[in-house]
């Protein structure tokens, strides 16, 4: 594995310019946060198709929908809490119901912009968006996967949401990795328990795998970069190999990755599953890593949940 650290937002901004070169129809919209969203390079390179709407986030989905309905491929950007929650009805009615080819990009998702506090944390976006028919939800774990996703988003015709955390993370993927929409990726094999993870918490899953191995527990690690459509058949096959599972995400435990995988475990696999995520609460301000530990997304809690699953079967 290539463990070079790279900032996910920077990787996104770089890929956006490259994709803009290849796709003349790509248009970028911002709402006064082009610096935080690293879209400034696109604005400088393609000023005729980059627009800052001002602090008007509920207009991002609607203006983007209009652009898409006349053949453009708009990527709109803001902090995830504004990209998603501020204009949920606009996303539902104007983007998804229209099946407009809009790329919603949520930056600083989860608790990753920690110090800004719960007003800016986004721990319910997956839950909200999963209920919209036909919307694809992507959540990359590193810079390589982020850049692959930007290319796939431009090539795919339909509404999509890209969930980006603000973090500098090790690349678990080599540059020749090929992301595919709707597929999971088994990073490590194991026969006792399955660990399903999305986003940069892949590193926690890899750490958990190593710790459990020391205890004689064999865990397979499955990266889930596409949360919707979820790879039901693949997850069922993965699940058949082990006796239970845990899920890890920087999101409310209600409605996110854990809930989505639990649906498959309850309906098809009939095996135990425990969710590691934010309990149903508003968070607080602090460093993002401190917050994750405080809200239970930490190695000790992960080990404890894994042990309880193993002992229950």
């Amino acid at each position: 594995m290539n463990l070079a650290n790279k900032d996910i937002t920077t990787a996104y901004g770089e890929a956006l310019v490259e994709v803009g070169e290849a796709y003349p129809n790509v248009v970028v919209l911002d709402a006064d946060l082009a610096d935080s969203c690293k879209t400034e390079s696109f604005h400088k390179t393609f000023p005729e198709r980059a627009f800052d709407l001002g602090v008007a986030e509920q207009s991002l989905p609607t203006i983007a929908a209009g652009l898409a309905l006349v053949g453009k491929i708009p990527f709109y950007n803001s902090f995830a809490v504004f990209s998603v929650s501020r204009g949920v009805d606009m996303i539902r009615q104007s983007v998804v119901y229209n099946q407009a080819n809009v790329k919603i990009v949520g930056h600083g998702a989860g608790q990753s912009i920690g110090y800004t506090g719960p007003s800016h944390h986004t721990v319910e976006d997956i839950s909200i968006l999963r209920a919209l028919p036909g919307l694809v939800i992507l959540s990359p774990c590193d810079a390589v996967e982020t850049q692959q996703m930007v290319w796939e988003m431009a090539a795919y015709d339909g509404p999509m949401y890209l969930r980006l955390v603000r973090a500098t993370v090790p690349n678990v993927h080599k540059p020749d990795y090929q992301f595919e929409i709707g597929k999971t990726e088994r990073l490590l094999e194991g026969s006792d328990i399955s660990i399903y993870v999305t986003g940069d918490l892949v590193t926690l899953a890899l750490e958990l795998h190593a710790v459990l191995r020391e205890e004689g527990i064999s865990a397979q690690v499955v990266n889930v970069p596409t949360i919707k459509p979820l790879a039901k058949e693949q997850i069922t096959r993965h699940g058949e190999l082990t006796s239970g599972a845990i899920t890890i995400e920087d999101h409310n435990i209600y409605g996110g990755l854990g809930s989505a995988v639990a649906e498959i475990y309850a309906e098809s696999l009939l095996k135990p599953l425990a969710r590691l995520g934010i309990p149903d609460t508003f968070t607080e301000s602090d460093d993002a890593m401190i917050l994750r530990i405080a809200y239970g997304i930490n190695i000790d809690n992960a080990i404890s949940k894994a042990r309880s699953i193993i002992s229950s079967v």
Binding site: G54, S59, A65, G66, L67, L69, G71, R92, Q93, S94
Partner: protein
């Protein structure tokens, strides 16, 4: 044909459009001549001439090719007037009239509010107020990027001016100089639940739009000469978006609705229906008796 109509030169065309509008109203009343069907008579009847002018005279469209790339676009931002949009599209041949037999039923092309995937000729799904207009801004922005020949028209209600999203889009359209967009406002002074004055007041409306950087035109929204004059003026504006405040009467042509101040959406009684048909018969005779 994008020019203002003249009483002397276009008398026959105007008469034809007026008769089309009457036929439209009859179709609307007949659609609602069923005690199980409630329609927004107020909001649909006030928009009849606006839709007729846009679709039967002004916009470049082709009913045989609803997806024609260079067509003018239209979004019914006040999506609850969908029956009027459907009647207009059907009269132009976008789909057969018998589709109304399945109006708002399962597998129908005609949903309660416009659905671009189901109804030929509908450019954007709408229904949640305050969204069709910003989507139209996005379409017109796309036309500017492409230096395209088409324009984007959208019809909003005065009730939609209570939506914050309307004013966000108003600022954006002005800041981005979106001049390929013409916004028409069905200025009937009422929202669904009654008159806006003293309740959800949006006046002074013209001054508000001017203050947001728009060119503002006013017209009689039931008069084809006045409507087309305003459209011609709006078309000529550059580097600025334009709005036409169309003075209209909510429920125009349905005597009960014109007089009724508290509701737009209701089921017609037989008495109200008969009164309206008698009224339309008299209007039709009056138009036909005029020398063309």
């Amino acid at each position: 044909m994008k020019r203002a109509l003249s009483l002397t030169k276009d008398r026959k065309k105007i008469q034809e459009l007026m008769l089309n509008s009457l036929a439209h109203r009859r179709k609307l009343l007949n659609l609602g001549h069923d005690p199980t069907i409630r329609l927004h008579y107020g909001a649909t009847l006030s928009a009849v001439e606006i839709l007729t002018a846009l679709y039967m005279l002004w916009m470049n469209i082709n009913p045989k090719d609803p997806s024609w790339n260079d067509r003018d676009r239209f979004i019914l931002s006040k999506g609850h007037a969908a029956p009027s949009l459907y009647i207009t599209l059907s009269m132009l041949g976008f789909f057969p009239e018998d589709e109304f037999q399945n109006f708002r039923r399962l597998n129908s092309k005609l949903q309660g509010h416009p659905d671009r995937h189901k109804t030929p000729g509908v450019d954007c799904s709408s229904g949640s107020l305050g969204q069709g207009f910003p989507v139209a801004c996005g379409m017109a922005l796309g036309a500017i990027i492409d230096d395209a020949s088409y324009k984007v028209y959208t019809l909003i209600s005065d009730g939609e001016c209570n939506e914050g999203s309307t004013w966000e889009a108003a600022l954006i359209a002005s800041n981005l100089k979106i001049d390929k967009l013409i916004l028409l406002l069905d200025w009937n002074k009422k929202s669904s639940y009654g008159t806006m004055k003293g309740r959800n007041d949006i006046e002074p409306l013209a001054e508000k739009w001017q203050a947001f950087g728009w060119r503002v035109f006013k017209c009689d929204g039931h008069d084809f000469i006045s409507l087309t004059q305003a459209l011609a003026q709006a078309e000529s504006v550059r580097d600025q978006p334009s709005i036409i405040l169309c003075n209209t009467i909510k429920g125009k042509g349905l005597p009960y609705a014109e007089k009724h101040h508290t509701s737009s959406n209701f089921a017609l009684t037989e008495e109200q229906y008969q009164e309206a048909i008698t009224h339309l018969d008299a209007l039709e005779k009056q138009i036909e008796d005029e020398p063309s």
